[in-house]
Symmetry: D2
Subunit: 381 residues, 4 copies
């Protein structure tokens, strides 16, 4: 039996599943081909912050895309939970970006200004106001930018909800099915080959995260990406110690609805392994305990890591690739969860020809770097 689909998606991470969900909603016969299991990699390792205003610092199409994606969650989550039956624990508990030096404080005040000009909610908290709002933040803090509208989801549950929603709407999921190569004919993609046989489609979306460039047909130029391992911890205090997500310059604390707090994340370029090092645990814990000493007695729960794909200019690759019928949706780096809502819709729009934001098409094109727009980020293989 020949396995033929309208669209094939390579990769069952949060973005592959979001694309499958949006396509399935539109009646498109879709299959996701996944090397191991749905959400096995970075998608279930993420802390689940929806921090559009924290990660991106400058105006332009990327900030625009991120904000639009974040704003989709308030409607998308109830729809997804209804369709899939899986709760994703969407919570708008706000984000505090704290400054531990005067320089950081001044940088945050600039950001405050920018956010307000953009019409986003943002407030300043001096040390005193901060200690009223979050009395357990005890480390030396010069002030904090508070973004009340920022929220979070459970990243693993969001991925599963997209996948189950798509599945119930008719999409097929092939797990443990690594793609070995693309099937091509006259310069057009015709499907993918796997150890479990071939799958056919004239539309293939490559959403393989940091594993996207393991597909190595010589004819396809996959634009450069570098894997960046991030390590996280979770601890659980007996009683809540912080209400908002707390973001310091080089680590963050995300209080989850189940009472645990995720402490993240390191950045290790060129590392694709899943190991968490003793040094990283020590380093993350030390910083967290210095800022919030009340975590000293919190229960140690676990540590884990995920590998995020970083592009050379920091923006994802969303759009048509160098082979006809091949699309890319990868390179989301630390913003995979946040961007997943709009990524799903945008790729579906591109495939069915209704995408009309020309600025996005150009900005996120996987081919943009050939034209000399990107700045190569240094890597340490």
């Amino acid at each position: 039996m020949k396995k033929a689909y309208d669209v094939l998606i390579i990769g069952g991470g949060v973005n592959g599943c979001s694309i499958a969900y949006q396509l399935a909603k539109r009646g498109c016969h879709t299959a996701v081909v996944e090397k191991s299991r749905v959400g096995a990699e970075a998608s279930s390792a993420a802390a689940g912050m929806l921090g559009a205003q924290v990660e991106i610092k400058e105006n332009g199409p990327f900030f625009d895309f991120a904000r639009k994606s974040r704003n989709m969650f308030s409607e998308l989550v109830p729809e997804l939970e209804e369709t899939s039956g899986i709760p994703v624990s969407y919570l708008r508990n706000g984000m505090l970006k704290v400054a531990q030096t005067d320089e950081e404080a001044s940088h945050l005040l600039e950001m405050l200004d920018f956010q307000r000009k953009e019409g986003e909610q943002a407030e300043w908290r001096g040390p005193e106001a901060l200690s009223v709002q979050e009395p357990n933040i005890k480390g030396e803090v010069k002030g904090a930018l508070f973004i009340p509208g920022d929220g979070q989801v459970k990243a693993k549950e969001l991925t599963q909800a997209y996948a189950r929603g798509a599945s119930l709407l008719g999409a097929d999921f092939y797990e443990y099915t690594p793609v070995i190569g693309l099937i091509q004919e006259e310069g057009k993609v015709k499907g993918v080959s796997t150890p479990a046989g071939s799958f056919y489609s004239s539309q293939v979306v490559l959403a393989g995260g940091a594993w996207s460039d393991l597909i190595t047909d010589h004819e396809i130029q996959i634009p450069p990406m570098v894997p960046v391992k991030g390590e996280c911890l979770a601890v659980r205090p007996a009683k809540p110690v912080i209400k908002a997500t707390v973001h310091a310059p080089d680590f963050y604390l995300v209080p989850k609805p189940d009472g645990s707090i995720i402490i993240g994340a390191t950045e290790q370029k060129g590392r694709m392994d899943k190991q968490v090092s003793a040094g990283s645990v020590q380093n993350l814990l030390s910083k967290a305990l210095r800022l919030v000493p009340g975590l000293q007695s919190a229960e140690w729960m676990e540590s884990w890591s995920g590998v995020r794909p970083q592009t050379t200019d920091g923006m994802p690759y969303l759009g048509a690739a160098s082979l006809e019928g091949l699309w890319m949706a990868t390179g989301h780096y630390r913003n995979g969860i946040l961007l997943s809502a709009l990524t799903g819709k945008w790729i579906a729009d591109l495939i069915d020809g209704t995408a009309d934001n020309q600025e996005w098409i150009e900005t996120f094109s996987p081919l943009r770097l050939k034209e000399g727009k990107g700045n190569l980020v240094e890597t340490n293989h």
Copy 2:
């Protein structure tokens, strides 16, 4: 520092936590003292069915109590999820009670009659109607009673939501704190002693499930209970195979929102161990695969067990015990999740003196058996 409380609850299972939640809501200074962790035993082993109409077959105060408890969930769940932040996956997917022999069918038809007289929704499905509603039920089935209003929760999450809700409202939880004995003075309870020191209160609720009778002060007569181990499995089909919970005479299939199906449960009297036997796995799987052959290719997930406390007349012990200030809330057997909603409220009412349903007070009194009302259930220690 003397640890003194308005009310002490022994046992952090679903009922102990529900009681703590209701008492904390009323501003009562409450502590839960738990031998290991919250929800460590039967409360997180349950399949989470809210089958008021399936488990209890005859009219009377018990059926009344069970129905009222079930009806509380539609309001309690949103309140709990809001307070605790923990989703409990409440779902009203209905229950199909299937008959595999003519005798069972005739028994179910009587039950149908009874339910309708009681004003409950219940419908009959002949073999054909059944195969339309649930086409994957393939075993020989004589018909089924369908109860559209029956629902389910995730048992572990419900327990944690009660506990976290109570905690956020001010209740204290002492985990890994086994109670060694009651502190008494002049025929009144004054607290409990534990390896971590004494806790004081003039109101103590014994909600220890099958472990309730490990407290062995000679003066307190804990009415007889027998532990009954129940073993369960979970499997996950690639696509949904049943929509409703399916209840056959000696096993059941509960489809959970995450796509898994819980298959349960054995009944092994006098067993307090946590082992699942090879024979039980084989037996439960064989029955399930015969009734729903589509599960053949479902993914095996896991097996587990829980120990439920069975009383001699099958009804829980809810009320004043033989020592002044001591209350019991145990013996819920297979109905712990279902009854937890009202158990919490009822015990809180009893303690603050507002309980006025005299029939319930008498029916569920832990002292009822002395007065010759109970029939001793045979046990196989």
Copy 3:
């Protein structure tokens, strides 16, 4: 820093690690490049039987190779345990091959004859003698072939012992390092490329098990293999129920030193996933409980699966591949543990040019099938 080695081994399974161990012993600067972790796949899923006489039925170089490999364990194990510090639980508890039909019995009697002619120890057990030797075998059995010399190891521990032994002797292990392609120059292999950079060597051994053909350079003809998933269970009786490994025509029971019994294994061609199906659990348990009813009360422990690479003629590929400097050591199918001892030595001999068994060179050559010797096994992708 250029990573250059005398020999590179692709794949950290039991055979890749055994090769690394033998090469490291000879002072060869060796590295193992592994896509995930050492022993992550079939090597730690195996039951660990060293059944040279059970798996191979006919005389010839394959039987010869298997016997020699089995015979190596009695000296190799103490050496490995000394070097690595890791106990591998080598045990010679014998193997009972039981016949459940007269046809099987007559087949086993032929095998008895063959084994004796070959000078191997083998004995016949009629039903009565069998019930004396193994009184818990209760199913209808026509007799059994007993091979007292067959043994077992712990497969995962053996793999780790090879790896740690090699590491302590100087070999490097790169985990989480998938090989994307071979580096070639003028028809010779020069190394491998991975997401973590290139590794250089003029000798590369492909020991990737069922994943060997994911390396898809067009120039290299990897001879055909089919992945065959095998599912296993473990149970633990309170007291030992069998002493020897018991092998029925379509399943086996391996009593391990820790008191558990491994029940295996299904054979599912073309499947590379790791899922264990509900149907397989039911099927394996039913057969095992019928033959040894005493397992009914044994504790259920776990289930798992592994994917074995099957070649078209059933024999492994050991030898020079189609590219100069490239060697293959894969296709061991169900005999990976048993053959690992000699595979390590044989590949090391081939690489350092001391291999002189011309029959083996020809029989196991990965290029043999081109010359029309192999019979294609049918596959069901």
Copy 4:
């Protein structure tokens, strides 16, 4: 069926199982009654050091007992491994006791003197000699006492080997069977009562570790003990960084044969919970990384804890208790693994009346403290 035994042992920890093993060897019909599973508590949480010379600093019967117990392992281990089939990874890799201040160095030099007078092997390593022996110890170290003969086992495997050895020699193990009380008659013990019914014997050994005093019959005076929680971590460097066990004043590093290193242990009096705190992880890791910076890149594996029973004078309770027929074998604190070899033999000697070391009988008598010999250790409940 009445369950009657020659000897009943309460507690399936390392000492309960060692006693069962020694009694079973002598043909005594023995049963172990265990609240959860064999080795569930401190016995499988221990790092497995056999450091007779490190833990005990002064001459006398306790040092004598510890040395004799340690010396038993070289013969006991092969016997146990042969009987049980379970490898316990006995290793004599030596112990380095490092001094980080001059005061500690001078204390260690006294200890060196004492050890030598006692005829034990012990050597001094100045900073330079130390850096030759263990080049990865980089923290400021004033010198180290090296005890070449000290060894280690795998604590969990040792416990299981005792248990399985005993079981194969005829002992019965009842897991998940908490003892509620002792059965007494005319001032003599007659057995124990449990939720699974009564067990009868005129000889009962209480070997319940930190749980021993949960049995609270008023007539039996269990001498005072305080639970002390100890937390541990394990990490795994890619290559070995230390050869010997390294013992600093307030933490230790135990290199295990599988390549992992156990870092332990905190001491938290009055805590019976199993939680590991964030603060403890941070604290242990910081100390370890300061002393051995090469562990920075080691893989984080896991953390765990165990609860050890500490007596008021630091010595175990071994001998007749206040009730005829009741024996105690508990209070081993941090020396449970080390002392288990001789504890098993000593209790068996006491029960069968062949114990003749009168000094030990008096020194370890559970009744010694009544007579005013013990000094109450302060506790922080």
